[in-house]
Amino acid sequence: MSPAGARFVGQSIKRREDPRLVSGHGRYIDDVVLPGMLHVAFLRSPVARGVITRLDVEAARQHPGVVAVFTGAEINQRCGPMHPTSQPPNPEAPHAPLRPMAEGDVRYVGDPVALVVAENRYVAEDACDLIELEVEPGPPVLDLEAALAEGAPVVHPEVGSNIAGAIPAMPDPELEQILASAPHVVTRTFRQQRQTNVPMETRGIVAQYDRYAGDLRVWASSQNIHEWRAYCARVAGLPENRVRAVMGDVGGGFGQKAFALREDAAVVVAAKELARPLKWIEDRQENLMAANSARHEQATVTMALDDDGHILAAKVHHVEDVGAHPPGGGGAGGGFVAMMFTGPYRIPRFGFSGTSVFTNTVGKAPYRGPWMMETVAREQMMDHVARELGIDPVELRRRNVVRQEDLPYQLPSGLVYDVVTPAENLEQATAMLDYEGFRAAQEEARAQGRYLGVGVGLYVEPSAVAFSVWATDQANIRIEPSGQVNVLMGVASHGHSLETTIPQVVADHLGCDIEDVVLQQGDTAVAPFGAGTGGSRSAVIAGGAAQQGATQLREKVLQIAGSLLEAAPEDLEIDRSVISVRGTPAKTLRLADVAAAAYLNTDVLPAGMEPGLEVVARYKPPAPFTWSNACHVCTCEIDVHTGIVKLLRYIVSEDCGVMINPMVVEGQIAGGVVQGIGGVLFEEVRYDADGNPLTTTFLDYLIPTAPEVPIIEYGHIETESNTLGGYKGMGEGGAIGSPPAVANAIADALAPLGVTVTDLPLGPSQVLALLHP
């Protein structure tokens, strides 16, 4: 809850990061320049799967301006353990060999084969052209079915099969009984295509090793700078306190920069070996080919309902593609899909099984809402079931949605919804559209041969993961002797506006002016350990830590002030850095006066009080997840001659608890929504039959541009969560709810033509193929 007299939380305060960014004075990774710095380029495999029969780097080594050339084997043998902190090696689990570069054979197009160090990037790329690489190609494994086929080639011989992870179905006779006897049982398989994150700034790293100090410094384009510190320490074989990692401004990540990836390890190893500062900036072709893939997965859903349209049970089998080298070497996102599939609905019985497979493609890494296949499949399924039962899809949702009287509601996965409002979102969003009015207009349009559709995407978002390395954040809040406030945190705001929103929280709870507060982040030598920014975690966990610390510090400020003003601390109030005695407005002190006492004039402090004005507050939310929820409603018109889908209206009703800064909330929604629209209408990472990537430029991998996007309309419901401040995370939700909303709108528009939609993407060619099978 906002403190009494809150001035800043809840306001759309203009961003404090903006003046430097709009004027060209941001400091991104490629802006880091060190004396004597050299530049790295990678030679990458042009073959998806094959044995390296020749790798001759001599001509490259001799090339003027080249300082060193490392083969994959030379880097790999110098590299320490490269697992993410959250994924310690598990010898029981299948995983790809954890190594920075290809050695002996290649496993996807883009697999790094050699690393060139030169005086500039131009020369480094020239030298890559001089490396003689010959690969004896073998048949690649490129899709889900092929990976699981009998006798399929094996991506990683060390693993022995293409299974990267599996969640077996638990025997459940009761579930099977319901599926066998229910009046209505519907089964569908939904697929979504391979996509990628496309941050506008590609990946990049600068690494500098001082042999004599024994220190490694790393600058990175990262969402989690403490993870880079830990990872670089492991790969360089150095103690963690010998590594300092720094992020400046970061040009987007969306999950791609949540974990350090293979090239980061290779550059660190080379920098340590050479003891020269090295810079590697990924180019866009590398980013589209070799950074990561996401979303390539399918789900077969069986849903049983009674005659009134109440869901009795559901069963899901999920298969996902993790590529060749996901961070950590394996694992599966299926666990989250299983946990969240039942989403905003009462589904009493639920069964899940899942498999993740290796393929000869770029490794899978997180992308905004990595588990979102649960919503993509479930929300499309709701429309399929509604059509099958002859019930309006909004009405079907109304009959099954979790309502206030159901709370607390325990999901089949065992998790409990404490404060959720999906029914309220559904009503607000459909009212904003005038759903019935649209249905009438749709009927009229159909009579004129025009195809309009409406689609809904309703979901609950598991924000602020509060376990493993993500469980906590810490705020070190320091009032400096001048009375100015520094907040040191292990967050990694990179577009999330935390430089504005964390000061909003601190200013309200400490009682100071927002102009007096600065967030310091992004440097492991300054900021306490934290899990960075991602997973819709910062408002809840970092916001909670900031509030906890500010509240504690305020108490000490008031104790000191009470002593100086000869008043009881409980009779004092503090607002905009001025402390006054309630009812005696003339008696005031500035925060700067209190700070001066705490540091410079310590004899005036109350007896026994420790001097200084600094707190350390680490916050862990009370539950494993803090639930937010939203309903997306989208309308479209389809030109059945061209297959072009035009989005007409796009409405989001969401509940992210107390909004720290509504402008920032809406910005996060908009960005996620448009990424999801791109995932339905435009974006696909494609490979040819030999495993050659076909979408390595922005002419081939199409992300939405301004002319294609609809105006997004927002509705807000604010119910407080049970976390400090009442916040709920929402950064990923836009990208979770939008794909099924758009897909359902398209399916609804085409339904009178007998078309059934199950597979994404739905670009013009796919729509025409559906219309003319």
Binding site: V198, T705, A706
Partner: protein, 160 residues
Amino acid sequence: MGDVVVTVRVNGEERKALVEPRLTLADFLRQECGLTGTHLACEHGVCGACTVLLDGRAVRSCLLFAVQAEGAEVTTVEGLTPADGSLSPVQEAFRDAHGLQCGFCTPGFIVSVTAFLQENPKPTDEEIRDALSGNLCRCTGYQGIIKAVRMAAGLEAAPA
């Protein structure tokens, strides 16, 4: 081919350097002039992040060699700010309308929009969207950007 001397007026200041003929204008601005506001996000002329003004026209500095700018007047995003350290109306509007998040594409948008509004000071919404079609943003969904252009053109009021 040997290095060549190139002389360009950048943000009103003469900049002269001995460069490889293949050095792009973008790399010249970033590396030789230290103007790192010009960003590279695709280096194949699609994303627009590297947009600068060349003799007043918006161009993609990743698709030009520095030598092609010989004798020309180049304005980068840094050159659009008033000398007193304040922001230009377009820059201010991007801030007011939340037209940026990570900020990486932003310099290209600001340069493109500045050139666009000089040519077309009172555009329609459709003209605005068309004008923005040559710049990619992955954070904002373009909502705040479209609004920022409307504000900069005086078609919509800035928030208080």
